[in-house]
């Protein structure tokens, strides 16, 4: 019905937009040049954009009697729009980007103030030769604490504003019990093999294997919990999971408000073909989490924290020492024939610098390790100190991605399939509602200024009261329908079998 209502609104807006466009704007010839910078929301100035991105609509956040914006490509093609709400015609935008691929475009904002036109200092954006993957999946959820109600797994077409609901928890629920849905993951940017979890009501892990969805219960008696953070092997029907015993504590005055921590976490491997689950790492002094495969599938990266509770009971230990829990990034070799793992190597020794490194993600060319680094802990999405870092796996250089980061939390990052774009969540807008930011990553390992993914309504992010999380790129749309997922979830879960090795 979202689509249905959207269509009706779309028609109405279309009529309105058509009327507006009929009032073609002209660039004021007599405008005086000003050194003032244009204040626009979202900030789409001095960025690098993929040539296939949807129009970067924006709002001019300045007082004036009239507004005109001129977007000019290097080929002298122009788009002129009246403001303050700048909604760019998608066809003209596409043409402008295509004609200026590998070059740039310049935006000039004109304001009519006190009867005189003023041209603000123009800004230029680069247009990358590299496209961004068409599809981006994420979850929409209130930035809540313990409770949840309506949740959506959504797939966005980044070349337009189309959103497709992969699944939501409104398909089946009890009047007083909803499902929690989380941790969607895809195999190698394709959607034929994907998974997400449904918790609570009719819970289980929904695994789509070769296009067929099925509900599995990964938890066996030998594991501390159900599979949580997933990582599909790039070529095999295998998923590595962390199994975590998680709890939440609340800050009495710290603006970070909530602390999510694991008191226990191990790594397991689930074999879809034989429904077996085996332990990868379950060292009692280590908290292993956030598994991630190298693109060749020969290494499993993960975050791990060394802990010694010295007999103190776990809840007290973790609430007293939460700032001392620091994660490193390790990796272990994987033999795909015998399904065995080798000895661990530390790749990022963050703990020795008093930091905590999480969410290792290897670039598709295998050269770069992208991770988030904060002062402590395992849930950086709530840590204001969390920033994106990268490590060059060829020469070992590690550095912060300054242009992508902000004073607030950056986390849950993913690579595009060509390795030239990174997407991540950031709470920079207001410290609470996370938004998805996109940034160009050059072959030399430099990142350009990050920008929020565009929306049809420029002020969407200012008014939208849900957080975006876990962005994952895919090169194709999810083909399993919402109803198929719903049907699979209604069935009883297939119990995974524990395999000792």
């Amino acid at each position: 019905m979202r689509v249905f209502a959207g269509k009706i609104l779309g028609i109405l807006f279309g009529i309105a937009a058509g009327w507006l466009c009929s009032c073609t704007a002209d660039v004021p010839a007599d405008a005086q040049l000003s050194k003032d910078k244009a204040l626009i929301y979202p900030d789409y100035s001095r960025i690098t954009v993929p040539y296939n991105i949807a129009p970067l609509n924006f709002y001019i956040d300045m007082r004036a009697d009239r507004y005109i914006v001129c977007i000019e490509g290097q080929d002298n093609s122009r788009i002129v729009i009246k403001g303050p709400e700048i909604k760019i015609d998608p066809d003209k935008w596409k043409k402008l980007l295509a004609n200026n691929k590998g070059k740039s475009y310049t935006v000039t904002v004109y304001l009519l103030q006190n009867g005189k036109w003023k041209a603000l200092a123009p800004f230029t954006n680069s247009i990358s030769d590299y496209p961004v993957d068409t599809y981006l999946s994420y979850r929409l959820i209130e930035p809540g604490y313990v409770r949840y109600d309506r949740l959506w797994l959504v797939q966005r077409d980044l070349t337009s504003f189309k959103e497709h609901v992969i699944y939501n928890n409104l398909q089946d629920y009890k009047a007083n019990e909803m499902q929690c849905i989380n941790c969607h993951s895809f195999q190698n940017y394709k959607t034929d093999n994907m998974q997400f979890h449904a918790r609570a009501y009719k819970g289980g892990t929904i695994i789509v294997s070769n296009g067929k969805p099925e509900k599995i219960n990964i938890k066996t008696d030998s594991l501390p919990g159900a599979g949580q953070y997933p990582a599909w092997h790039p070529t095999k029907q295998l998923i590595a999971y962390s199994v975590n015993r998680t709890r939440q504590l609340f800050h009495s005055i710290d603006p970070q408000k909530v602390e999510v921590m694991d008191s226990e976490s191990d790594l397991v491997l689930y074999n879809i073909e034989n429904n077996h689950v085996q332990i990868i790492r379950n060292d009692s002094d280590e908290l292993e989490t956030y598994p991630s495969w190298s693109p060749d599938g020969k290494w499993l990266y993960y975050s791990t924290a060394h802990i010694k509770t010295n007999g103190q009971n776990a809840p007290d230990f973790f609430s007293e020492h939460y700032k001392d829990i620091k994660y490193n990034i390790n990796r272990i070799p994987f033999n795909g024939d015998s399904l065995t793992f080798g000895a661990a190597q530390t790749i990022v020794n963050a703990a020795s610098n008093g930091k905590s490194a999480l969410l290792p993600r290897i670039s598709p060319d295998g050269k770069w390790l992208l991770y988030s680094l904060a002062d402590y802990g395992t849930f950086h999405i709530w840590h204001k100190s969390s920033d994106l870092y990268v490590k060059n796996l060829d020469n070992g250089n590690e550095y912060e991605l300054d242009n992508a980061n902000s004073p607030d939390s950056e986390s849950y990052h993913s690579w595009s399939s060509n390795g030239r774009w990174i997407v991540f969540t950031s709470r920079r807008d207001d410290g609470s509602y996370s938004r998805l930011y996109l940034a160009y990553f050059s072959p030399q390992g430099e990142v350009s200024k990050a920008f929020v993914i565009p929306q049809e309504k420029p002020l969407h992010n200012a008014f939208f009261m849900k957080s975006y999380n876990i962005p994952e790129f895919t090169v194709e749309p999810v083909t399993v329908s919402l109803r198929q997922f719903s049907k699979a979830i209604r069935k009883d879960a297939k119990q995974a079998v524990h395999e000792s090795r």
Binding site: Y145, D172, H251
Partner: protein, 586 residues
């Protein structure tokens, strides 16, 4: 329609809503949200009956002025009665019978208890009136029309009406089926009602198949309060049965019904409406807090009532603290409270209801923000949560976050000014400094961060915070002292006493009372303590100890001694300490 009968119903309905339940109407609109934006409309239309939700919320916002909201509400009930009268072609002489569905829906609203705080769909004040009106449309359109017209009308109605009215469009179709004197009309109605929701399930993304027939009915809105559905069933039964009964009842019966209709309406509403003086008191206090009128809070608090809610004590202590007289007057007011709220709704606990406001005024902005977020997730967005979250963000210095909530409130009809006032505080420290209330709260909101687990209840969170936190400012010492007195903790009392004696020029009355009593218990140097106390306090303490000793020696029960002591010492800490049981919340 009968003018006198109609006038009586109008006056009664207006009295029951705008006068008797004026504060409930006000709170009702605070716990609702209507925004003038296309995305708000689109969001409401994602499920069948979305229009009822949208229109219901639109009308609910006018409860901001209860006199106006009550007028609109009564007007809608009358419009419904008129539609019943017209749709069923009721005889002029029996017209007052048409008010029965309106009375059921009036009762639906007047029977609301504490459930109102945790309603998932705040439009329910109006959505069922609007829904019943929608259900009458096909009946009305098909009156005295041929079968072909009726079939076409019913099919078109349900196709167009289901997304707008959900369950009520099915109800309308069923009434049409009951009234249909032709098999084809009845069969078409039944088939349409059975199949159209299933067909729409293919279009809607946000719907469960098993609920397709009941979207629009408050199956989620009222939680476990199924008893609140009864007036709705009465409404449905009436509009289904009225046309069927009309032909079968004799003229005499109808005449009696006509005469009895309005008295029956009034009797039903008066008998089954929710009556709880504590509930009314609480709503009035919350409205006074919205207006920043702490004197009013105290004035309302001082009125005794049976089974008083614990939240009233907490609100009252906030007001006393704001007025700077917490430690002088906190035991002057009634302290006996009920252990649970007077409701059958299991979800309506003190914590669930109070924690969206109360922790803020105790300086626990993070805790309050968290509970507003949890409630927002559970019950949906509303003005009240956004207001509280804006205040919490302003207090915590989170400017951008406070702007987000201010934007939401600015999109409403009545809260833009309120939002403008408080968002200005986030950016202008001088303006903030002029706000006495927020400054007193800010003085409490300065302490070292503690990472803690969820305490079971809101009140225990507040108590533990003050018992475990080192008070620094005078405001914090004052509040900590108050908590030490409430919890009857003499060690915490003496800890605060030392700090308080060093900071305050004069010891407040209850502090003197507690010092005398705890000093005596612990064999302290009473002369030193008495030097810090007023003579009349010392004299009364002697009288109190004499009284307790005298009656205690007679073997009289603690309860009886308490009743005797209450007459002269009910306003003292000694009485509270000896005879009032400790804090109780759920």
């Amino acid at each position: 329609m009968n003018t006198a009968g109609t006038a009586v119903f109008i006056l009664f309905s207006y009295w029951m809503t705008a006068i008797v339940r004026t504060d409930m109407l006000f709170r009702g609109q605070e716990l609702s949200l209507f925004q003038f934006s296309s995305s708000f409309f689109a969001d409401k239309m994602t499920q069948p009956a979305g229009f009822l939700e949208y229109a219901g919320r639109f009308l609910t916002q006018f409860f901001y002025y209860p006199w106006l909201g009550g007028l609109i509400f009564t007007g809608m009930l009358c419009l419904l009665a008129w539609m019943v009268y017209k749709a069923f072609g009721i005889d002029k002489n029996n017209a007052l019978v048409s008010f029965l569905p309106s009375a059921a829906l009036l009762l639906f609203v007047t029977q609301f208890d504490y459930t109102i705080y945790i309603i998932k769909h705040s439009e329910i004040f109006y959505s069922h009136i609007l829904g019943t009106m929608a259900a009458l449309i096909p009946v009305w359109l098909c009156r005295n029309k041929n079968n072909k017209f009726c079939i076409a009308t019913i099919v078109l109605y349900i196709i167009a009406g289901y997304p707008l009215f959900g369950f009520y469009s099915l109800l309308g179709t069923i009434i049409a089926a009951v009234r249909g004197k032709n098999t084809a009309v009845t069969a078409t109605s039944i088939i349409a009602a059975a199949t159209v929701p299933l067909a729409y399930h293919c279009i809607y993304h946000d719907c469960a198949l098993k609920f397709m027939y009941i979207y629009g009915f408050p199956f989620r809105a009222l939680g476990t309060s199924v008893y609140l559905w009864i007036p709705l069933f009465a409404d449905y039964l009436f509009i289904i049965l009225l046309p069927a009964l009309r032909g079968r009842l004799g003229v005499n019966v109808l005449r009696i019904s006509q005469k009895a209709a309005i008295p029956l309406c009034i009797a039903l509403v008066l008998t089954f409406s929710y009556r709880d003086s504590s509930f009314r008191k609480q709503l009035a206090i919350e409205r006074a807090i919205h207006n920043g009128n702490w004197n009013k809070v105290l004035e309302i608090s001082s009125v005794p009532c049976k089974e008083q809610s614990r939240l009233i004590c907490l609100y009252r202590n906030i007001a006393l603290f704001q007025k700077g007289v917490l430690l002088d007057e906190m035991f002057k007011y009634p302290y006996e409270t009920s252990s649970t709220l007077n409701t059958k709704n299991k979800r309506a606990t003190y914590t669930e209801i109070g924690s969206t406001i109360i922790p803020f005024y105790y300086g626990l902005a993070n805790n309050c923000y968290r509970w507003n977020m949890e409630s927002l997730v559970n019950n949906g967005a509303c003005v009240s949560y956004y207001k509280n979250m804006l205040l919490c963000s302003v207090l915590s210095g989170e400017r951008q976050l406070s702007q987000r909530y201010a934007r939401q409130l600015s999109s409403t009809l009545f809260y833009k000014k309120w939002a403008d006032r408080y968002i200005a505080y986030a950016f202008d420290g001088k303006l903030f400094a002029k706000d006495k209330t927020l400054n007193k709260v800010k003085a409490l909101n300065t302490f070292d961060n503690v990472l803690g687990e969820d305490d079971v209840t809101m009140e225990s969170t507040i108590l533990f915070h003050y018992l475990e936190t080192e008070p620094e400012s005078l405001a914090q010492i004052e509040m900590s002292m108050g908590i030490a007195l409430i919890t009857k903790s003499n060690s915490d009392f003496w800890y605060c006493f030392e700090k308080y004696a060093n900071n305050a020029a004069v010891l407040p009355r209850h502090v003197q009372e507690a010092a005398l009593m705890f000093g005596m218990f612990q064999d302290f140097d009473m002369e030193q303590i008495e030097r810090m106390c007023n003579r009349d306090v010392i004299k009364r303490f002697e009288q109190f100890t004499d009284l307790v000793r005298e009656y205690g020696n007679t073997g009289m029960s603690q309860e009886k001694v308490g009743r005797i002591a209450e007459k002269n010492f009910g306003d003292t800490y000694w009485y509270y300490y000896q005879f009032v049981n400790g804090e109780i919340t759920n």
